[in-house]
């Protein structure tokens, strides 16, 4: 049905804009370093990761009961709970709620789930004006692009790009790329919208079964301006967001923003348990493939994800290719293991957008074995004959060489000698993706085997 996303081709376009590519890499690495200093400052960090992983695994193995408990308590608190089996039903439910209230202006805070459901065009086609209120998400909406990162949606843009977008859409000075000016312009443009909006929409980072509470972690104040002004609040929540008890938030809230942005907590961490008197609060619990993923023996662990983006910030491939090159709602390492569950053929190239270095796994606050899952997806894709031609041929040759110790030794020695003597244009030519943007390290004088034979004595 849909064409395969060609990640390598899309990334090469991203890399062409050198200023952008360099800044992108630097900015995300900076987030990774901030995350490191926060995590290193907490002696219990590794304990928290283990706890978070265990709590999530427990919840997912009892998810049916916790979903019912959440529904029972949220309903008792005065919320209305809806269930959506897929994206289409989610969008229809939201539309129905808005229609019943005559609501045509919706202020929306960031939610990956509504992007996953492609809700915006659906509602816009039915006469609903939607204003994305998160700054990054708003920039992307005005530029008619999807978010490129799950936490910082416009991270691939430079200030000049934002000035251009705002100049074109908000009437600001397109030549003024001063960041405080741009942020202030969005503030002034958006705040009156909260006052005239008929409804507000948020996602949720966590939903607590025990109390029927959902939790929204943000920094800009936009989610809470929305939730506390119009008389209708709709929250879209993936069924995997459940946690059993309030006390579990201690573990997850401590780690979420530290992992995402390297700050100890988000500026605003909001807990919605019941509607304000005289207003309505609706929750849409969305499946859209999650219950099926829960039954995938190797891949259900990806449902532990709390969408912090740490795996993206640390990933050398993501940092150098940009989120849009993945052609999917979820990009980076977590996207690579989630996207194929939505459409294996369309996203069959994504699990190859990884060096399998495992950095994603070591920063993941809920201990998802991301790089191992990437490897397992490659196996699935190879078995289902979804492997692209070039990779198939390379694997066939690699298979022969690796199967024979003699061939392997010859290949390694030849490669080392070759690297030293090859003219630069052969190593750094446009066909060698690994030579781009970096110097290949000098090959050691001896191969490991030559060293072993010399130092540990003789053939066995």
């Amino acid at each position: 049905m849909m064409n395969r996303v060609d990640h390598a081709e899309a990334s090469s376009k991203f890399i062409e804009a050198k200023d952008h590519a360099d800044f992108h890499d630097k900015r995300l690495w900076d987030l990774r370093r901030k995350r490191d200093s926060e995590s290193e400052a907490l002696p219990e960090w590794e304990t928290l990761r283990a706890l978070a992983s265990q709590i999530k695994e427990h919840t997912l193995t009892h998810l049916g009961d916790y979903l019912e408990e959440f529904e029972r308590n949220a309903t008792a608190n005065g919320m209305v709970v809806h269930w959506a089996r897929d994206a289409a039903e989610h969008n229809e439910i939201v539309h129905r709620i808005l229609e019943a209230h005559g609501a045509t202006i919706l202020v929306k805070s960031k939610s990956m789930l509504t992007d996953e459901c492609e809700m915006r065009p659906f509602l816009e086609n039915r006469g609903v004006e939607i204003v994305e209120t998160d700054l990054g998400e708003r920039i992307q909406q005005l530029d008619d692009e999807p978010p490129s990162h799950i936490v910082v949606p416009a991270v691939h843009k430079l200030r000049g790009d934002v000035a251009e977008v705002f100049g074109r859409t908000l009437g600001t000075d397109p030549d003024n790329s001063d960041v405080p000016y741009l942020a202030e312009s969005q503030r002034r443009h958006t705040r009156p919208t909260y006052l005239r909006a008929h409804a507000a929409m948020t996602g949720a980072n966590f939903a607590i079964a025990e109390t029927g509470t959902f939790v929204v972690c943000t920094n800009e104040g936009n989610a809470d301006l929305g939730a506390n002004l119009p008389p209708l609040h709709i929250a879209s929540i993936g069924i995997e967001k459940l946690l059993p008890r309030i006390e579990h938030l201690g573990v997850f809230v401590r780690m979420l923003s530290r992992s995402a942005l390297g700050s100890p907590i988000t500026q605003i961490t909001s807990h919605f348990r019941a509607p304000r008197p005289g207003t309505e609060m609706h929750v849409v619990l969305v499946d859209n493939g999650r219950s099926e993923r829960l039954g995938m023996e190797d891949f259900w662990y990806s449902l532990k994800c709390i969408r912090c983006g740490a795996c993206m910030n640390t990933c050398p491939v993501y940092r150098r290719s940009g989120g849009l090159s993945y052609g999917a709602t979820y990009s980076g390492p977590i996207g690579v293991i989630i996207d194929p569950t939505f459409n294996l053929r369309k996203y069959s190239a994504l699990p190859f957008a990884s060096t399998l270095n495992g950095s994603c796994t070591s920063v993941c606050p809920v201990k998802i074995d991301i790089h191992e899952q990437i490897y397992k997806w490659r196996e699935v894709i190879a078995q289902r004959h979804q492997l692209p031609m070039v990779k198939k041929e390379a694997m066939r040759v690699a298979g022969k060489v690796l199967a024979s110790p003699k061939l392997y030794r010859a290949a390694v020695e030849a490669a080392a000698a070759g690297l030293e003597h090859l003219p630069r244009f052969l190593v750094y030519n446009p066909f060698n993706a690994w030579g781009r943007q970096r110097e290949v390290p000098a090959a050691p004088a001896q191969t490991f085997r030559q060293w072993y034979v010399a130092n540990r004595g003789g053939e066995r």
């Binding site: 997912l60 193995t61 049916g64 269930w83 942020a183 958006t190 800009e220 809230v253 499946d287």
Partner: protein, 195 residues
């Protein structure tokens, strides 16, 4: 079959084998000075602590902190301001507020957060539509970390509870940090035992 039944049936059919729920140990360290720890954590998040000089009334101190303010909307008895939150009928009326004044229920030393709910705000939008927020906080109300915060029973009673940690902020353009994104531009905590 309704979607609810379908989803629950699929979830139950696919749920992997039982995994136990761990017990969360206490990570609490005893803090020599919880109030000082709270203040430095808050400063990192862009908030500040302001201590009124001896003998200064809180109402005067709020005016001193925000000298140019025209509309000061107070949700606390200690500060009169220019508008009482009890007189506000609709949250949109708070659009012109320069300074909101509330009392935090408790603070968290680990993060510099203050716990607030509909009870403290009077009208929740006060914490977001106001340009600036001044928060009275009892220095004896500081808990050590977020684990302790989440043990507070008020989380189970409040319709809306928020841990506010400094002003609204964004770094969505080139990572440049802007304090005062869409909500409050400043967040000042004033130590004050309840009257």
């Amino acid at each position: 079959m309704t979607s609810r039944e379908l989803i629950l049936a699929r979830v139950r059919r696919n749920q992997p084998a039982w995994r136990d729920l761990p017990t969360i140990p206490s990570f609490e360290r005893s803090l020599a000075d919880p109030w000082a720890a709270f203040g430095s954590a808050l400063a990192r998040m862009g908030g500040s602590v302001a201590v009124p000089p001896d003998g200064t009334a809180l109402d005067a101190f709020v005016r001193f902190l925000h000298a140019g303010a025209k509309v000061i909307c107070s949700a606390v008895p200690e500060v009169v301001g220019t508008r009482r939150i009890a007189d506000v009928r609709h949250p949109a009326e708070l659009d012109d507020v320069d300074v909101g004044v509330v009392r935090g229920a408790f603070g968290v030393a680990e993060t510099g957060s203050v716990w607030l709910s509909e009870r403290e705000f009077g009208v929740n939008a006060l914490g977001f539509l106001a340009q600036h927020l001044v928060v009275l906080l009892d220095p004896r109300s500081i808990v050590a970390d977020l684990h302790a915060a989440y043990r507070d029973p008020r989380f189970r009673e409040a319709r809306y509870a928020v841990l506010m940690t400094g002003p609204s902020a964004t770094a969505d353009i080139e990572g440049v940090l802007i304090r005062g994104a869409q909500g409050i531009r400043s967040f000042t905590v004033v130590p004050a035992a309840p009257a």
